[in-house]
Amino acid sequence: MGKLTFSMGGVHPHDSKYARECAIEELPLPQTVYVSMAQHLGAPAKPLVAVGDSVKVGQVIAEPGGFISAFVHSPVSGTVKAIAPRKDLAGNFVTHVEIAVEGDEWDPAIDRSKDLVTAIPDDKAAILDKIKAAGVVGLGGATFPAHVKLNPAPGKVAECLILNGAECEPFLTSDYRIMIERPKEIVVGAAIMQKVLGGCRCVIGIEENKPEAIAAMTDAVRELGYANMEVQVLKKRYPQGGEKQLIDAVMRRQVKSGGLPIDVGAVVQNVATSLAVYEAVQKNKPLITNVLTITGDQIPGNLQHNYLFRIGMPLSWIVEQAGGVPETAAKLISGGPMMGKAISNLDAATVKGSSSVLYLSEGMTRRKPATSCIRCGKCADACPMGLEPFLLNRLYKAADLEGLEANAAQDCIECGCCLYSCPAYIPLLDNIRQAKGQVMGVIRARAAAAKAAAEAAKAATNK
């Protein structure tokens, strides 16, 4: 197939992959790590250890706090010093397990060798259990527990597993590096997920600006010879890596508003998640490491890195190891420049989903003052969900919740294309994000009321 892409909207920021040549380096161990209990979507994990306990690398330290939740494991060996609230990167208090690092003793069950294990277990339930027990969550940014996504509800069939190797956010290169350095592991991970989903087709989507990754993954797929798996080149366009956009590009299907990808037979996982699945199932290694990129504009080459970090390492410590915050940095971001979170507390600990520390200079990031909307429609042209941000902005200002719902504010994926392309520098996404929250609140309340009414009716008829 030629190069595929999604059917509406999208913008073309400069890809700025300055850290692409930086091989993944392993960081030394700090003196203390702080493992957050809220590293995934859904309910926070519940600590299973107590202050004073000794832990080994890979030992379970917290269990899921609900159906949508995940196990958390210790990334280091040492002693639990405290289980207390600590500020995350937005300055909000979250429970962290503080562990004083002593040595680097791993759980003996973990296979630390570099040998590739290609034989995939037959038992689907056992695989899912292993993925769950390893605390694997989606590493594409959303951190949705993988064992839930890979276990579709009864009646839903997975037709295509899409592996997201797009890495469409500018600056980030961690997915690119793991595709070049560990392609076979990623492919085995994909095969494992195919098995769990019942043997569906697997498409590994990679953007065209990563030819080396395309070559490495294509070779790995061919050499390992798993059935029904292929690499698909995607056009370089933001937000190509968005779940809904990938499904549109690869399967030519669109997920309905309020629906899930599995409704159209799709399961989307990041290539890093696939690597984590491989390590969990084939190596018994829980999710305690990930790769993050230290990069930015106007920073010298020696300050660019791709690091293999352990969860719980403070960002400030990693930044120090990387050579400190550059002079030109005016804003620090965790994630990409389009959807990442600005860091207001550099002492915050890294989590499973940490993907980068991005330094942006003043000229690149300082917002210009907003002027009047000139009704040019560039925001609507750019929206990958086909929404009309100029209209949603106006409706939000008028507090018109009905209008916002009718114009699909709840479908916004918060990609930032609208604000990025507005010539009047209007803070579109800032407002639409609030509008989306308000409309989703209304929808949830309505659903809850309908459910309660249905149950009351049922109880009445049962009497």
């Binding site: 207001s344 907003a370 803070p427 800032d430 407002n431 609030q434």
Partner: protein, 310 residues
């Protein structure tokens, strides 16, 4: 020429009359029958349609009032007791007088007292800023300074003070409708009793962090030391979650709490005389000394009694 003139006048007059008759008939046929008292009540309402009563405008309030059996659950904060009396007299109900209230901004984290630790560059909206992170100062509870409260006020009673970075309430314009309290994402603004001749006390802080953390972030923070609660002889102050709160229904405006507060977090407004902290502290010390003496004397008589009985 004259004929044209006459015809024109005649036709237009007849047309006008016919159309007027049609309009009259339509108005009669499609008229909605309403209790005439709704109109009467609406006439005495302030007409601000601010929603402070909880209804969608003054007419909706009037409608609900006419249909209700009493006025216990309805109150117009803008019109106050005056309007409620009028409404009561129209409908034959009785209403109790309610103390007038005013919006109070319970934060004194001025730009000088509470230094910024980062620079916020998003849209100037408190709601967005609060949803994003804990704020651009060390206090995660304090005023964010973007003016959502000012925008929410329909009476022009709120304005941002550019020097302090905090909102200021104009008591003469505030109608206690509650719009600003709903707009503030940090729940800093509260409707409190206006007080006799406008005098009132309040703790100007909602910071729930422990004392040292709060003090580090803001020089005027309440550190939850509890001195005020211990000093208050009217049981009006409670300290919960490291922050003090004055119950305005119990406060007697003695200002002793304001005198003992180590950070100046407690404010007294509209008092005719400036607070003489030393004098008040002395008064408190004297009272404590007298109480100690009385306790000793009581102990001594108790001992004597025991000795006598034993």
């Amino acid at each position: 020429m004259t004929l044209t003139f006459i015809w024109t006048v005649a036709i237009l007059t007849v047309l006008g009359l016919v159309l007027a008759l049609i309009l009259f008939w339509v108005a009669r046929k499609f008229k909605v029958e309403e209790d005439p008292r709704i109109d009467e009540v609406e006439k005495v309402m302030p007409g601000a349609n601010c929603g402070g009563c909880g209804f969608a405008g003054c007419r909706a309030f009037a409608d609900a009032a006419v249909k209700a059996t009493n006025l216990d659950n309805q109150y117009c904060p803008v019109g106050g007791d005056e309007v409620m009396q009028k409404v009561a007299s129209i409908l034959g109900f009785t209403v109790a007088a309610k103390a007038p209230q005013v919006a109070v901004v319970r934060c004194n984290g001025t730009c000088s007292a509470r230094p910024r630790i980062n620079e916020y560059d998003g849209v100037q909206s408190c709601r967005v800023k609060a949803a994003l992170y804990s704020g651009d100062t060390g206090c995660a509870f304090g005023c964010l300074g973007c003016g959502d409260c000012v925008a929410a006020c329909q009476f022009g009673a709120l304005s941002m003070d550019p020097e302090t970075g905090l909102p200021v309430v104009d008591e003469t314009k505030c109608t206690a409708c509650g719009a600003c309290t709903k707009a503030c994402p940090k729940h800093i603004i509260e409707l409190r009793a206006k007080g006799p001749r406008g005098m009132r006390m309040y703790v100007s802080c909602v910071n729930k962090d422990k004392g040292p953390v709060a003090k580090k972030a803001c020089a005027s923070a309440c550190i939850g030391c509890g001195l005020c609660a211990k000093t208050c002889t009217h049981d009006a102050i409670t300290v919960v979650d490291n922050v003090a709160y004055i119950d305005f229904t119990k406060c007697k405006l003695c200002r002793e709490c304001e005198a003992v507060c180590p950070t100046g977090a407690i404010h007294g407004v509209n008092f005719p005389k400036e607070l003489d902290k030393e004098a008040v502290k002395k008064r408190i010390a004297d009272r404590k000394a007298k109480a100690a003496e009385a306790a000793k004397a009581a102990e001594a008589t108790e001992e004597k009694k025991e000795v006598a009985n034993g």
